[in-house]
């Protein structure tokens, strides 16, 4: 390493830094140390090298001091911290009070909306719903609880199961052939379903084409209170509804209103 190489290398040396243990400076540093031993270098030791090195170090320290004297705004840390928004956890902690309060508020709101909807749209215990339910039952496959062509036996069965049995048949219905009965439930109240055959040809698999449903009128909201039959078309059935002597009756059959009227 020539003297020029030493200067070139040590021009990048920073006194007081870890550069002193950097292997790339070791040899050059050895050349400028006061007790460096000459003779093993290709060039005679330059007596000026140590002086040059001292001045380099002094000049480095002066310039470094200038950089270190750059004033830092005292409020800078506060400005940095003020702008810092800690990242939010991606998982919501469910049991924080704020979350619980919000959930409770949403639940109360949902309940209030449901109550409003319930009031405006009515409950499932109204007459129209009841009548639709009866029509669906008659039109779908169903099983009779008792198959019998004997009306007193049917009534005994109904009474034995606490279903309405003291009903009064319209005049025309008494001419139809009873074939059995079933007990339905409506709002916790028993509904007597008495099945008849009118004598018309029955579709395959069917055993009845006229049905009488009897229930306590208190179980049906907004039911017709008239003792005279009120006719209405429900699905493919024609129905007649009336209330008499504490019983609400729905008579249903396949056919038009004129056909049904002849049972009264």
């Amino acid at each position: 390493m020539t003297n020029e190489d030493v200067k070139k290398t040590l021009a990048l040396y920073r006194p007081g830094s870890p550069d002193r243990i950097d292997p790339s400076f070791t040899e050059a540093l050895d050349r400028v140390r006061p007790n460096s031993t000459p003779g093993h270098t290709p060039e005679s030791p330059d007596p000026e090298l140590p002086r040059w090195f001292q001045e380099h170090c002094a000049s480095y320290r002066n310039l470094r001091a200038s950089f270190l004297n750059i004033p830092v705004p005292p409020a800078l840390p506060e400005r940095i911290l003020a702008g810092y928004k800690p990242p939010r956890a991606s998982v919501i902690r469910l049991f924080r009070p704020a979350v619980i309060l919000r959930a409770a508020a949403v639940l109360v709101l949902c309940l209030a909306l449901a109550a409003v909807f319930w009031r405006s749209h009515g409950k499932d215990d109204d007459f129209n719903t009841y009548r639709n339910r009866l029509a669906r039952t008659a039109l779908r496959p169903y099983s009779m609880d008792l198959r019998s062509g004997d009306l007193p036996s049917i009534n005994t069965y109904l009474a034995g199961h606490k279903a309405p049995a003291d009903y009064a048949l319209p005049g025309g219905v008494t001419k139809a052939q009873p074939v059995g009965c079933a007990i339905l439930q409506w709002q916790g109240q028993p509904v007597s379903m008495i099945c008849f055959q009118t004598g018309r040809p029955l579709p395959a698999g069917e055993s009845a084409d006229l049905w009488l449903f009897v229930i306590n009128p208190s179980a049906v909201r907004n039911g017709p209170a008239s003792p005279l039959p009120v006719l209405a078309r429900v699905k493919t059935l024609t129905t007649a509804t009336w209330t008499r002597n504490g019983k609400m009756y729905v008579l249903a059959t396949v056919g038009d209103e004129a056909y049904l009227r002849k049972y009264f």
Partner: protein, 174 residues
């Protein structure tokens, strides 16, 4: 990262980062913005750093990148010709060279070629080893040293030309 650990990080590094930023930008406002932006990037992406021992290098690297990005956005980086600032740099007696004003030194650094300035600033701030400087500037250590050799040479000449310090020049010119 918790608030406490972020606060500790700021306390530990805001000063050297600001001085590095000021060395590059040479205005307080820009240096503050660079420093703040660096910590903002840390707050959003610092968790990706797996080796905590590299935090310092990560911060300096980020600051340098943010600086380069801001420079690219400018159509032209304002650069005053040397003769325009000569009058603003007072002649300094060589005896006073021990008390170089940081403003004079940074003004001189501003006339060093852009690509050498960061290396020179990191060289004097002495917060980083050569390996770390290479990582911050994203160049090999050899390139760092060649940039430093040229940058320090330019800085020395500028200081001599402006008469700030003949002693500095003499020390490195011999």
């Amino acid at each position: 990262m918790t608030d406490v650990s972020f606060e500790n990080l700021v306390k530990q590094y805001y000063q050297p980062l600001y001085k590095f930023a000021f060395s590059l930008a040479r205005t307080e406002a820009d240096a503050c913005d660079l420093t703040q932006q660096t910590f903002y990037v840390w707050a959003t992406k610092g968790h990706q750093l797996r080796d905590p021992s590299r935090t310092k290098t990560w911060l300096f690297t980020t600051l340098h990148r943010v600086f380069l990005q801001s420079r690219r956005r400018e159509t032209r980086f304002p650069h005053e010709p040397l003769n325009e600032t000569e009058d603003g740099l007072p002649f300094t007696d060589p005896v006073l060279a021990d008390h170089l004003d940081w403003e004079q030194v940074l003004a001189a650094l501003g006339h060093v070629e852009d690509r050498y300035q960061a290396a020179v600033a990191l060289f004097y701030l002495q917060d980083c080893s050569y390996r770390e400087i290479a990582e911050i500037l994203d160049v090999p250590v050899g390139t760092v040293k060649s940039r430093l050799a040229r940058g320090l040479g330019q800085l020395k000449k500028i200081l001599i030309q402006t008469g700030v310090s003949s002693r500095v020049g003499k020390a490195q010119d011999d």
